[in-house]
Symmetry: C2
Amino acid sequence: MTPPDPYTDLDTNGRSNPWTTLSRRTIYENPWILVREDQVLRPDGQPGIYGVVQYKNRAVGVLPVDDQGRIWLVGQHRYPLDAYSWEIPEGGCPTSETPEETALRELREETGLVAAQLELISTAHLSNSVSDELAYIFRATGLTEGPGDPEGCERIAIRRVEWDEAHAMLRRGEITDSMSVIALLEEAVRRLEARLGGESG
Amino acid sequence: MTPPDPYTDLDTNGRSNPWTTLSRRTIYENPWILVREDQVLRPDGQPGIYGVVQYKNRAVGVLPVDDQGRIWLVGQHRYPLDAYSWEIPEGGCPTSETPEETALRELREETGLVAAQLELISTAHLSNSVSDELAYIFRATGLTEGPGDPEGCERIAIRRVEWDEAHAMLRRGEITDSMSVIALLEEAVRRLEARLGGESG
């Protein structure tokens, strides 16, 4: 008989919320985010503050994969980074839409593509030390091409690339947007598992 | 000769910054973030605002992989989500540290593990529509166990799990932190590529 493993015995520790919120104050609000500062007692009982960024929309990203296995990327200048970024089509999902509706709408607006099938491949909290932002990432297939319709706050370039090129861009650090990184890694896993004949990884 | 492909000809469009910043105003600042609101002209020339969250630290995550291929996860209550989250060890990298130093320090503080090797496996902008947060994600190997030393704002549980269990947690949606999702997907790709005998995916 082996002795108990200290690591596997800890998994129910600390499940209750060790933070106490003493007060909340809204600092800033715009149509996309609300910033608040909470007065808290930390897990060690000491007083402190916590600045939280609440998102009004969920984030949605969609990886378009055509019948030949090629994918689409969109390029745009990302204002908070002051840098150009190649990404999968993405947008905000207001409460009036489902993530699926947002995915189809953003795909059409940014690339002109209409997707026959949509598969949810990942959900992620993008930055949980400060924000509550939740992302839904889809894979779109059965694509047909039509006219795009970008929003006024977007000037978007479009590239259709072979999978190997997209994967190489990721490996070279040319794609850094977290939702795009997750989508491309999920796609890499899917293609590797297919090559292994459907065994699970 | 095939006709020019409209999608591959667009990749240099829009590379210049289409936004104009008219003014910047700091809204809020704490030791971790600075929130500002800019008055801007959008890409279509219309006036607007842009709320930006600047991070004072870079984000660092580290996937610990032991000699048997098992990995470590840490569990904690994430205040902005008001939810418990199983993740890889993570922490903030101040300007006084390199990301590698932060990775080794956070690994030791949160798990007690000391790593002989550290490999950078991904860099990502976690939420580039609003913030400039940049994450460095490492894979740590050559692990030896020692005492942990969590910070006062952390109450951390530790689990050492088989790879198949970690991958299953990801697949079941039980791991949603974006840095952890990226780390586990990178590990999945690595293991699948190894099973394919070193061919690239």
